[in-house]
Amino acid sequence: MTWAETLLAALKRADISLIAYVPDISIYQATKLMEDDPYFHVVAATREEEAIGVAVGAYAVGRRSAVFMQSSGLGNCINAIASLCLPCRTPIPFFVNLRGELGEFNIAQVAMGRASKPILDVLGLPHYTLTTVDGLDTILNGALDLCYASRQPVALCMTPLLHRGSLA
Protein backbone atom coordinates (compact mmCIF):
# COMPACT_ATOMS: atom_id res chain seq x y z
CA MET A 1 0.00 0.00 0.00
CA THR A 2 1.07 3.59 -0.50
CA TRP A 3 1.55 5.85 2.51
CA ALA A 4 -1.81 7.47 1.77
CA GLU A 5 -3.62 4.12 1.61
CA THR A 6 -1.93 3.03 4.83
CA LEU A 7 -3.07 6.26 6.46
CA LEU A 8 -6.68 5.76 5.40
CA ALA A 9 -6.64 2.19 6.68
CA ALA A 10 -5.39 3.37 10.07
CA LEU A 11 -8.12 6.03 10.26
CA LYS A 12 -10.78 3.43 9.49
CA ARG A 13 -9.34 0.99 12.00
CA ALA A 14 -9.68 3.72 14.64
CA ASP A 15 -13.28 4.49 13.57
CA ILE A 16 -12.36 8.04 12.53
CA SER A 17 -14.81 9.25 9.91
CA LEU A 18 -14.91 13.06 10.14
CA ILE A 19 -11.89 14.88 8.79
CA ALA A 20 -11.52 18.64 9.21
CA TYR A 21 -8.69 20.22 7.29
CA VAL A 22 -7.20 23.15 5.46
CA PRO A 23 -6.01 22.05 2.02
CA ASP A 24 -2.31 21.28 1.51
CA ILE A 25 -0.85 20.18 -1.83
CA SER A 26 1.87 18.12 -0.14
CA ILE A 27 -0.62 15.62 1.25
CA TYR A 28 -3.13 15.89 -1.57
CA GLN A 29 -2.78 12.15 -2.24
CA ALA A 30 -4.29 11.37 1.15
CA THR A 31 -6.97 14.05 1.34
CA LYS A 32 -8.14 13.27 -2.21
CA LEU A 33 -8.56 9.61 -1.29
CA MET A 34 -10.61 10.64 1.74
CA GLU A 35 -12.80 13.00 -0.26
CA ASP A 36 -13.50 10.25 -2.79
CA ASP A 37 -14.36 7.71 -0.07
CA PRO A 38 -17.95 7.89 1.22
CA TYR A 39 -16.79 6.52 4.57
CA PHE A 40 -15.34 9.94 5.34
CA HIS A 41 -17.00 13.31 5.73
CA VAL A 42 -14.27 15.79 4.85
CA VAL A 43 -14.87 19.36 6.02
CA ALA A 44 -12.75 22.07 4.47
CA ALA A 45 -12.27 24.84 7.01
CA THR A 46 -11.20 28.40 6.34
CA ARG A 47 -8.60 28.26 9.10
CA GLU A 48 -7.09 25.58 11.29
CA GLU A 49 -8.61 26.67 14.59
CA GLU A 50 -12.00 26.35 12.95
CA ALA A 51 -11.06 22.79 11.96
CA ILE A 52 -10.26 22.08 15.61
CA GLY A 53 -13.72 23.33 16.61
CA VAL A 54 -15.47 21.16 14.02
CA ALA A 55 -13.48 18.10 15.09
CA VAL A 56 -14.27 18.70 18.76
CA GLY A 57 -17.96 19.09 17.95
CA ALA A 58 -18.00 15.78 16.11
CA TYR A 59 -16.25 14.03 18.99
CA ALA A 60 -18.64 15.58 21.50
CA VAL A 61 -21.60 13.76 19.93
CA GLY A 62 -19.78 10.45 19.59
CA ARG A 63 -18.04 10.57 16.24
CA ARG A 64 -14.31 10.24 16.08
CA SER A 65 -12.53 12.91 14.09
CA ALA A 66 -9.08 14.07 12.98
CA VAL A 67 -7.53 17.33 11.78
CA PHE A 68 -5.09 17.74 8.90
CA MET A 69 -2.99 20.88 8.67
CA GLN A 70 0.40 22.28 7.77
CA SER A 71 2.87 23.34 10.43
CA SER A 72 1.94 26.94 9.59
CA GLY A 73 -1.62 26.02 10.52
CA LEU A 74 -0.51 24.59 13.83
CA GLY A 75 0.62 28.12 14.59
CA ASN A 76 -2.88 29.34 13.76
CA CYS A 77 -4.61 27.02 16.20
CA ILE A 78 -2.43 26.80 19.31
CA ASN A 79 -4.98 28.50 21.54
CA ALA A 80 -7.77 26.25 20.26
CA ILE A 81 -5.70 23.25 21.28
CA ALA A 82 -4.67 24.77 24.60
CA SER A 83 -8.04 26.14 25.65
CA LEU A 84 -10.39 23.53 24.20
CA CYS A 85 -8.73 20.20 23.43
CA LEU A 86 -6.57 20.07 26.54
CA PRO A 87 -9.06 21.16 29.24
CA CYS A 88 -11.86 19.06 27.68
CA ARG A 89 -9.49 16.16 27.04
CA THR A 90 -10.54 15.49 23.48
CA PRO A 91 -8.65 12.63 21.84
CA ILE A 92 -8.26 14.15 18.40
CA PRO A 93 -5.25 13.23 16.28
CA PHE A 94 -3.55 16.09 14.46
CA PHE A 95 -1.80 15.27 11.21
CA VAL A 96 0.72 18.06 10.82
CA ASN A 97 2.64 18.33 7.57
CA LEU A 98 5.99 19.81 8.57
CA ARG A 99 7.35 22.61 6.43
CA GLY A 100 10.91 23.82 6.79
CA GLU A 101 12.16 20.32 6.13
CA LEU A 102 14.23 18.85 3.30
CA GLY A 103 13.70 20.72 0.06
CA GLU A 104 11.95 23.71 1.57
CA PHE A 105 12.08 26.67 -0.79
CA ASN A 106 10.17 29.25 1.23
CA ILE A 107 11.99 31.02 4.05
CA ALA A 108 8.62 32.07 5.49
CA GLN A 109 7.80 28.43 6.24
CA VAL A 110 11.02 27.57 8.04
CA ALA A 111 10.59 29.09 11.51
CA MET A 112 7.10 27.74 12.21
CA GLY A 113 8.06 24.36 10.79
CA ARG A 114 11.01 24.13 13.16
CA ALA A 115 8.96 25.45 16.09
CA SER A 116 6.18 22.90 15.69
CA LYS A 117 7.63 20.01 17.68
CA PRO A 118 8.87 22.22 20.55
CA ILE A 119 5.40 23.77 20.75
CA LEU A 120 3.83 20.31 20.90
CA ASP A 121 6.34 19.45 23.63
CA VAL A 122 5.45 22.42 25.84
CA LEU A 123 1.76 21.62 25.36
CA GLY A 124 2.56 18.12 26.62
CA LEU A 125 1.35 16.44 23.45
CA PRO A 126 3.01 13.28 22.16
CA HIS A 127 4.18 13.50 18.57
CA TYR A 128 5.58 11.03 16.12
CA THR A 129 7.41 11.84 12.91
CA LEU A 130 6.48 9.91 9.80
CA THR A 131 9.30 9.44 7.31
CA THR A 132 8.68 6.17 5.46
CA VAL A 133 5.91 3.78 4.56
CA ASP A 134 7.88 0.96 6.18
CA GLY A 135 6.35 0.43 9.60
CA LEU A 136 3.95 3.32 9.05
CA ASP A 137 0.93 1.26 10.07
CA THR A 138 2.61 0.35 13.35
CA ILE A 139 3.26 3.98 14.23
CA LEU A 140 -0.18 5.17 13.13
CA ASN A 141 -2.14 2.43 14.88
CA GLY A 142 -0.06 2.80 18.02
CA ALA A 143 -0.37 6.59 18.08
CA LEU A 144 -4.13 6.46 17.55
CA ASP A 145 -4.55 3.85 20.26
CA LEU A 146 -2.54 6.07 22.61
CA CYS A 147 -4.63 9.08 21.65
CA TYR A 148 -7.87 7.42 22.76
CA ALA A 149 -6.40 5.67 25.77
CA SER A 150 -4.99 8.93 27.11
CA ARG A 151 -7.91 11.03 25.84
CA GLN A 152 -5.69 13.80 24.63
CA PRO A 153 -4.49 14.83 21.18
CA VAL A 154 -1.55 13.13 19.55
CA ALA A 155 0.31 14.69 16.63
CA LEU A 156 1.54 12.78 13.61
CA CYS A 157 4.16 14.89 11.88
CA MET A 158 4.39 14.22 8.17
CA THR A 159 7.57 15.03 6.25
CA PRO A 160 8.68 15.18 2.60
CA LEU A 161 10.50 11.90 3.18
CA LEU A 162 7.09 10.31 3.65
CA HIS A 163 4.93 11.92 1.02
CA ARG A 164 7.43 13.25 -1.53
CA GLY A 165 4.79 15.82 -2.21
CA SER A 166 5.35 19.16 -3.83
CA LEU A 167 5.44 22.24 -1.64
CA ALA A 168 3.21 25.28 -1.91
Partner: protein, 193 residues
Protein backbone atom coordinates in the same frame (compact mmCIF):
# COMPACT_ATOMS: atom_id res chain seq x y z
CA UNK B 1 -37.11 31.12 26.87
CA UNK B 2 -34.62 29.32 24.63
CA UNK B 3 -34.46 26.39 27.04
CA UNK B 4 -38.26 26.23 27.20
CA UNK B 5 -38.44 25.81 23.45
CA UNK B 6 -35.57 23.51 22.57
CA UNK B 7 -36.49 20.49 24.66
CA UNK B 8 -33.61 18.05 24.94
CA UNK B 9 -31.70 19.33 21.91
CA UNK B 10 -27.98 19.91 22.39
CA UNK B 11 -26.82 23.50 22.96
CA UNK B 12 -23.32 24.93 22.61
CA UNK B 13 -22.70 28.17 24.49
CA UNK B 14 -20.07 30.80 23.86
CA UNK B 15 -17.55 31.50 26.59
CA UNK B 16 -18.27 34.13 29.21
CA UNK B 17 -21.72 35.55 29.97
CA UNK B 18 -23.54 33.22 27.54
CA UNK B 19 -22.17 30.16 29.29
CA UNK B 20 -22.85 31.71 32.70
CA UNK B 21 -26.45 32.56 31.77
CA UNK B 22 -27.09 29.13 30.28
CA UNK B 23 -25.82 27.50 33.47
CA UNK B 24 -27.95 29.69 35.73
CA UNK B 25 -31.01 29.45 33.46
CA UNK B 26 -31.02 25.68 33.55
CA UNK B 27 -28.10 23.35 33.75
CA UNK B 28 -28.58 20.14 31.80
CA UNK B 29 -26.29 17.44 30.50
CA UNK B 30 -26.89 18.59 26.96
CA UNK B 31 -25.39 22.03 27.54
CA UNK B 32 -21.90 22.14 26.06
CA UNK B 33 -20.37 25.10 27.86
CA UNK B 34 -17.21 26.60 26.43
CA UNK B 35 -14.79 28.47 28.61
CA UNK B 36 -12.00 29.13 26.18
CA UNK B 37 -11.42 28.78 22.46
CA UNK B 38 -13.01 32.14 21.71
CA UNK B 39 -14.60 32.17 18.29
CA UNK B 40 -15.19 28.45 18.02
CA UNK B 41 -18.71 28.12 19.45
CA UNK B 42 -20.46 27.81 16.09
CA UNK B 43 -17.64 25.70 14.64
CA UNK B 44 -18.12 23.21 17.47
CA UNK B 45 -21.87 23.24 16.81
CA UNK B 46 -21.22 22.65 13.11
CA UNK B 47 -19.11 19.59 13.89
CA UNK B 48 -21.95 18.29 16.04
CA UNK B 49 -24.61 18.97 13.40
CA UNK B 50 -22.59 17.03 10.81
CA UNK B 51 -22.37 14.07 13.17
CA UNK B 52 -25.86 13.70 14.66
CA UNK B 53 -29.37 13.75 13.22
CA UNK B 54 -30.58 15.96 16.03
CA UNK B 55 -30.98 19.71 15.75
CA UNK B 56 -28.06 21.54 17.33
CA UNK B 57 -28.29 25.07 18.73
CA UNK B 58 -25.27 27.38 18.90
CA UNK B 59 -25.53 30.34 21.28
CA UNK B 60 -22.76 32.54 19.94
CA UNK B 61 -21.81 36.18 20.49
CA UNK B 62 -20.93 39.04 18.15
CA UNK B 63 -17.40 39.43 19.51
CA UNK B 64 -16.77 35.71 19.29
CA UNK B 65 -18.15 35.27 15.81
CA UNK B 66 -16.22 38.29 14.54
CA UNK B 67 -13.07 36.46 15.59
CA UNK B 68 -13.98 33.54 13.33
CA UNK B 69 -16.21 34.79 10.53
CA UNK B 70 -14.95 31.87 8.45
CA UNK B 71 -17.20 29.69 10.60
CA UNK B 72 -20.24 31.19 8.85
CA UNK B 73 -18.67 30.52 5.45
CA UNK B 74 -18.13 26.88 6.37
CA UNK B 75 -21.72 26.59 7.63
CA UNK B 76 -22.82 28.05 4.28
CA UNK B 77 -20.63 25.53 2.46
CA UNK B 78 -21.79 22.49 4.42
CA UNK B 79 -25.42 23.63 4.87
CA UNK B 80 -26.41 21.24 7.66
CA UNK B 81 -30.21 21.23 7.89
CA UNK B 82 -30.06 20.65 11.64
CA UNK B 83 -28.00 23.64 12.74
CA UNK B 84 -29.44 26.76 14.36
CA UNK B 85 -27.01 29.58 15.13
CA UNK B 86 -28.22 32.32 17.45
CA UNK B 87 -25.86 35.26 17.86
CA UNK B 88 -26.37 37.41 20.94
CA UNK B 89 -25.37 40.77 19.48
CA UNK B 90 -24.85 43.48 22.13
CA UNK B 91 -22.60 45.42 19.73
CA UNK B 92 -19.81 45.48 22.26
CA UNK B 93 -17.17 43.46 24.06
CA UNK B 94 -19.08 43.41 27.30
CA UNK B 95 -16.55 41.64 29.48
CA UNK B 96 -13.53 43.69 28.54
CA UNK B 97 -14.70 47.24 29.17
CA UNK B 98 -17.72 47.69 26.89
CA UNK B 99 -15.71 48.60 23.81
CA UNK B 100 -17.89 48.90 20.71
CA UNK B 101 -17.70 45.84 18.48
CA UNK B 102 -17.78 45.96 14.71
CA UNK B 103 -21.54 45.37 14.68
CA UNK B 104 -21.92 48.80 16.30
CA UNK B 105 -19.97 50.27 13.42
CA UNK B 106 -21.83 48.82 10.47
CA UNK B 107 -21.03 45.11 10.26
CA UNK B 108 -24.34 43.33 9.62
CA UNK B 109 -23.91 39.69 10.62
CA UNK B 110 -27.20 38.61 9.04
CA UNK B 111 -26.06 39.94 5.67
CA UNK B 112 -22.69 38.24 6.16
CA UNK B 113 -24.52 34.96 6.67
CA UNK B 114 -26.67 35.58 3.60
CA UNK B 115 -23.53 36.33 1.63
CA UNK B 116 -22.18 32.96 2.72
CA UNK B 117 -25.17 31.19 1.19
CA UNK B 118 -27.33 30.81 4.29
CA UNK B 119 -30.86 31.67 3.22
CA UNK B 120 -32.78 31.09 6.47
CA UNK B 121 -31.83 34.18 8.47
CA UNK B 122 -33.41 36.73 10.78
CA UNK B 123 -32.51 39.69 12.94
CA UNK B 124 -34.69 40.12 16.02
CA UNK B 125 -34.73 42.75 18.73
CA UNK B 126 -37.22 41.47 21.30
CA UNK B 127 -37.78 38.25 23.19
CA UNK B 128 -41.11 37.77 21.43
CA UNK B 129 -39.49 38.11 18.00
CA UNK B 130 -36.73 35.72 19.01
CA UNK B 131 -39.21 33.13 20.19
CA UNK B 132 -41.12 33.36 16.92
CA UNK B 133 -37.92 32.97 14.89
CA UNK B 134 -36.64 30.14 17.06
CA UNK B 135 -39.91 28.21 16.80
CA UNK B 136 -39.83 28.54 13.02
CA UNK B 137 -36.22 27.41 12.97
CA UNK B 138 -36.99 24.38 15.12
CA UNK B 139 -39.86 23.42 12.82
CA UNK B 140 -38.12 23.77 9.46
CA UNK B 141 -34.86 22.78 7.75
CA UNK B 142 -31.84 25.00 8.23
CA UNK B 143 -29.17 25.99 8.57
CA UNK B 144 -30.65 28.94 10.43
CA UNK B 145 -28.81 32.08 11.42
CA UNK B 146 -30.57 34.39 13.87
CA UNK B 147 -29.05 37.63 15.10
CA UNK B 148 -30.60 38.63 18.44
CA UNK B 149 -29.93 42.29 19.19
CA UNK B 150 -29.63 42.62 22.97
CA UNK B 151 -28.66 45.23 25.53
CA UNK B 152 -25.78 44.61 27.87
CA UNK B 153 -26.81 43.96 31.48
CA UNK B 154 -25.00 43.08 34.67
CA UNK B 155 -23.16 39.79 34.52
CA UNK B 156 -24.21 36.75 36.48
CA UNK B 157 -21.66 34.99 38.68
CA UNK B 158 -19.23 32.70 36.90
CA UNK B 159 -20.68 29.28 36.20
CA UNK B 160 -18.72 26.50 37.92
CA UNK B 161 -17.62 24.82 34.71
CA UNK B 162 -15.26 21.90 34.52
CA UNK B 163 -14.52 21.33 30.82
CA UNK B 164 -13.63 17.66 31.00
CA UNK B 165 -16.77 16.91 33.00
CA UNK B 166 -18.83 19.03 30.60
CA UNK B 167 -17.63 16.98 27.65
CA UNK B 168 -18.11 13.68 29.44
CA UNK B 169 -21.64 14.52 30.61
CA UNK B 170 -22.66 15.90 27.23
CA UNK B 171 -21.13 13.09 25.21
CA UNK B 172 -22.62 10.30 27.28
CA UNK B 173 -26.12 11.41 26.20
CA UNK B 174 -25.46 10.50 22.57
CA UNK B 175 -26.10 6.87 21.56
CA UNK B 176 -23.31 7.00 19.01
CA UNK B 177 -20.86 7.45 21.86
CA UNK B 178 -22.41 5.37 24.61
CA UNK B 179 -23.38 2.34 22.53
CA UNK B 180 -19.96 1.34 21.24
CA UNK B 181 -18.06 -0.71 23.81
CA UNK B 182 -15.10 -1.15 21.47
CA UNK B 183 -14.32 2.51 21.01
CA UNK B 184 -15.89 3.93 24.16
CA UNK B 185 -15.39 1.45 26.98
CA UNK B 186 -15.48 4.23 29.61
CA UNK B 187 -19.06 5.07 28.70
CA UNK B 188 -20.33 1.54 29.30
CA UNK B 189 -22.36 0.56 32.35
CA UNK B 190 -22.09 -2.73 34.23
CA UNK B 191 -24.53 -5.30 32.87
CA UNK B 192 -26.27 -5.51 36.23
CA UNK B 193 -27.19 -1.82 36.28
Amino acid sequence: MVLENVGNRPIVSNLGPTTDELWHSGHRDRNFYTWGSMGLCSSIALGMALSTEEQVISLDGDGSLLMNLGAIATVGREKPKNLIVIVWDNEEWGQTGHQSSHTAMGTDLERVAQGCGISRTATVSSEEQLETALREALASPGPWFIVAKIEETDHLPYAPIEPEMTLYRFRATFPRASSNPLTEPWLQKPESS
